[in-house]
């Protein structure tokens, strides 16, 4: 399967996506909902997390991917941009660094970057969003678990379900089996194990046009099934709602689920989830160094509303902390039901 960009699909154009999201009349806009619940303009609480998208290159082509990542995507972060990120990390109170992609490990400078983050900031929480299969994709990646351990990296990995059929239908044929192998490798060196400080968290997102289950109950179910069927251990399960952009939006339209899904998100708007959205504590950095409120805004090319600080080279902490967060209709994905963030439910 090719990326939307390689197909020249209209939905690979971010302005087309925004126009489409804004065009149907669902009776209410996200801004109106925020206004009704006294949250507009949406403001940051503080900047605790820097989420860095290291590039769109990936060994997988997942059907729901909001990045439209895949092997045919060549956009990756350069060492020059990483050095600028390191300078910001060193001089600001960033508590958590969240590395994502694509498959961030495919960036040739990935290990250099992680090692340098750890050396300049021994206490910072480094998260790598690892798709698991990358560990088995090539012999040069087989020692990633040891590399993660050596740098005290927290691993967060997608596993849409504890069965092959549902996982493979979303992430590609054979992904489940390889993911289980990779999880065993991580468990073998202590990740996700009781009494270990090596954290392995899993991410569930629905394989279709419906909302995720309650996080606590599903985590218990995942733990039971993965332990009994595959002897796999992990720490926490994060439930994430699919946000209607990019490939998931393409799926919604193609399957005629778009309107129903948007109605569901809107009717499930939860003010508590809206108050706790992750963009209030996060800055997202694109592969080319531009700054965004979140990874979804990044994919829609909605840059932060701070003209004096739009790029990592122009980092202005005060301006960013006082910015108005850019919102649009896709934001209903983070405020529905129990809420959704890269760390799971928020309400």
């Amino acid at each position: 399967m090719k990326s939307l960009k390689a197909q020249n699909h209209p939905l690979s154009n971010s302005q087309y996506e925004i126009d489409l999201l804004e065009s149907p009349d669902f009776g209410v806009s996200f801004v109106q909902k925020l206004e009704e619940t006294n949250l507009f303009p949406l403001k940051p609480v503080q900047i605790e997390t820097m989420q860095i998208n290291m590039g769109k290159m990936c060994n997988q082509v997942c059907k729901h991917c909001h990045v439209d990542a895949g092997p045919d995507r060549k956009e990756i972060m350069t060492r020059d941009i990483m050095e600028q990120c390191l300078a910001v990390i060193e001089n600001n109170h960033i508590k958590s660094l969240d590395l994502t992609g694509g498959a961030p490990e495919m960036n040739p400078e990935f290990r250099w970057f992680v090692s340098n983050i750890r050396s300049i900031s021994p206490d910072i929480n480094i998260i790598v969003r690892c798709n698991l299969t990358i560990i088995l994709a090539n012999p040069k990646y087989r020692d990633l678990p040891e590399f993660f351990k050596a740098n005290q990296v927290e691993v967060v990995s997608s596993l849409p379900y504890f069965s092959a059929a549902k996982t493979d239908s979303q992430r590609g044929d054979g992904v489940f089996e390889k993911s289980i192998q990779a999880l065993r490798m991580l468990n073998d060196i202590g990740y996700g194990m009781e009494n270990s400080d090596l954290i392995l968290n899993l991410v569930y997102n629905p394989s279709g046009a419906f909302l995720p289950a309650a996080q606590a109950g599903l985590e218990a179910e995942f733990k039971k099934k993965l332990k009994s069927n595959f002897n796999i251990n992990f720490n926490s399960l994060f439930t994430i709602t699919n946000v209607p952009i990019s490939r998931f939006l393409e799926y919604l339209i193609r399957s005629e689920n778009y309107e129903g899904y948007m109605e569901k998100l809107i009717e499930s708007y939860n003010p508590t989830a809206a108050a706790n959205v992750m963009c209030r504590t996060t800055i997202s950095v694109g592969w080319d160094g531009y700054l965004y409120d979140c990874d979804f805004n990044q994919m829609l090319d909605l840059k932060v509303e701070t003209p004096q600080s739009q790029h990592i080279s122009d980092w202005n902490h005060s301006a960013l902390k006082n910015r108005n967060i850019v919102v649009n209709q896709h934001c209903f994905g983070c405020t529905a039901g129990a809420g959704s963030s890269c760390g799971g439910a928020t309400a």
Partner: protein, 110 residues
């Protein structure tokens, strides 16, 4: 084409109070309480509801509890097993009445 069942009508369920509010309010309060986590989990209750929806053959309920069970993290295998429980009870309910038929046959036969 007009039909007795319109999927759009499911969205109007909450508006039945328009004709009789006090009873509707009591029903929806009760309904909400029934489906909360209790001795049974919300997930287990949703699967029971899916099975009952098939037993009573209510298209609205089948739609609603298909979505609900998916949103409770159930997979297709679990959902179909729930429907088989309904089918087994319905089939069993017919078959167990055959004992009455057998009794009658034996009563009338030499």
């Amino acid at each position: 084409m007009k039909t007795y069942y319109n999927p759009e009508d499911l969205k109007k369920f909450g508006k039945i109070g328009e004709f009789q509010k006090p009873l509707a309010d009591k029903f929806f309060d009760y309904y909400g309480e029934v489906f909360k986590e209790g001795a049974l989990t919300a997930r287990e209750k949703s699967l029971i509801a899916l099975a009952v929806a098939h037993a009573i053959q209510c298209p609205y309920c089948i739609d609603a509890y298909t979505v609900d069970t998916m949103e409770k993290g159930c997979d297709e295998e679990q959902m179909m097993e729930a429907v088989h429980v309904a089918a087994a009870i319905r089939g069993g309910a017919s078959l167990v009445h055959s004992t009455q038929m057998m009794n009658k046959v034996k009563e009338l036969s030499m």
